[in-house]
Every structure is written in C-alpha cells, then in structure tokens.
Symmetry: C2
C-alpha cells in the first residue's frame, strides 16, 4: 500500500484513499453532499438546518473546501439582499452512489443493533442568522468591486 | 432529511448517513479497514506502518471502536510474548466495495488535478515499539485471570 508520499491540491497523502478522504471525508463533507443530492440548490441557512450540530464557521469552511475542490458550486445572485446558493457539480454528483451505499450500511447497522430515540441536540449558541452573515459578506465583496 | 434524533450503540445522529460516518467515517477508520482488505490479519505494528502519521494512541482507540462495532476482529494468541492480530469481520468486508469506489474517486481526482511528490512525513515521536506495548498490556490481562 505505501506508494510514496505525494501532494494534490495542497493535500499530502500516501495512497489515493487518503486523498479521497481529504476531499470528501470527515464528519461534515459527506453530509453536505448528501443533503444537496436531490435539490437543485440550497441556501446556507437551509443547509445548516439539515445539520443541527454544525457551527456556522465550520459549515462555511467545509463549503469553501468543497467548492475549491470542484465538488459543489456557489452561485451569488446580485440581488438586495444578495442571495447565495450551493449545488452539486458533476463531480459532486458522481459521489452520490458511494454515499447511497454508505447510507444503506447505516440502515443495516441500525437493524442489527437496534435504535432508541435521543434527545434533541443542545440549542445552538446565539449567532447572527447565517444567511444574513453570508449575505453581508457578499454585499461587501460586491461593493468593493 | 431530518427524521428525529436517535441513538444506536452510543452514537447520536439524525440520519442513517450520520450513523455510518460515526461507525466507519473519520480520518482513520476507512484507512484501517482498507489496509486489512486483502490480508487475513495484521499485527498492530504492521497496521501502523501503513499509516505513518497516526499516533499509537489514536490507532489503539480506532481499533477498539471498530472492534466494538463489529467491523474488525481482534485475536489474542496466548504465546510468549503474546501476539495480537486484527482482521476484517464479515461486516467489515461488506464495506470494502464502498472503499474501492472511494479509492477510484481519489485516482480520478489525481488525474484531474495533477500530483506532485511530497516530502516524507516528519518522523514519529519516540514511543515504545507498538507491538511491545500492546503485548505487554495483553500479558498483564492474561496474568490477571
């Protein structure tokens, strides 16, 4: 398996699997791609509602990385207030069958070990509404042009 | 997508995908399963050599979780010194096609964006030889019976 340390788009790794995990692995990226799978696009706030325990900062960072690696598109509509929407690219869409297989695994795991209800996660810390923040940022970028 | 907060084997989640990621996601678990895919078993030290940047503590923890979730088996041979070997269970083996698809994605990503050689990772901090530590622990457990 060790086949030489190498680098691709700023990620260092020893095997292709490690690279894959750097691009679409981790706790949040598969979930983000998954929630985008059957809608044309989602706004930041809508995405965040699907992942109640992610922080705004973490979601922003994960979206930036996925965009930079060509997995999602980010479209800014120069409206007032500006609107920003995220959607899968063709490369992002190519990942969905893998995620579907992962999801099936989760269901089989539940069937094997049993499930019990859990309490709702702790309420999020008070933060400005995500879209407002995102949009204020975009408005500033547009104004600076 | 939100379908109620629930719990399975101590993991809290809102959708099956989140559960899958808790069981076999993260930075290391897919790599551990991947390196076990075409050998009957591996010793701790052999596994660690395939992942030069993982710490001993982290590898131990990830192996314990994978074992507890039924993805790998851990066999202790009561020899002197004791020998401990890890292998995939049937459930662990079921995951391999997903990991193969992930690996293919990594290779396509490399082909698209290009690869450059990277330096070898920084040398690991000085630690006792992994098998020695693992085996000393097992020897103590066996002696305590």
């Amino acid at each position: 398996m060790p086949c030489g340390r190498r680098r691709c788009r700023g990620k260092e790794y020893s095997c292709s699997m490690e690279l894959s995990l750097a691009v679409i692995g981790g706790k949040w990226k598969p979930l983000i791609l998954w929630h985008l799978r059957d809608v044309p696009t989602l706004r930041f706030s809508a995405l965040r509602r699907t992942m109640p325990t992610i922080t705004q900062k973490m979601l922003t960072q994960q979206l930036r990385e996925l965009e930079s690696d060509g997995m999602i598109s980010r479209t800014v509509f120069a409206e007032v207030p500006p609107r920003v929407e995220y959607g899968l690219t063709d490369s992002g869409r190519d990942i969905i069958p893998i995620l579907e297989a992962l999801c099936r695994f989760g269901r089989q795991f539940e069937a094997r070990f049993g499930v019990e209800p859990a309490e709702a996660p702790a309420p999020r810390p008070v933060e400005p509404a995500p879209d407002e923040l995102e949009e204020a940022l975009v408005a500033r970028q547009l104004a600076a042009r």
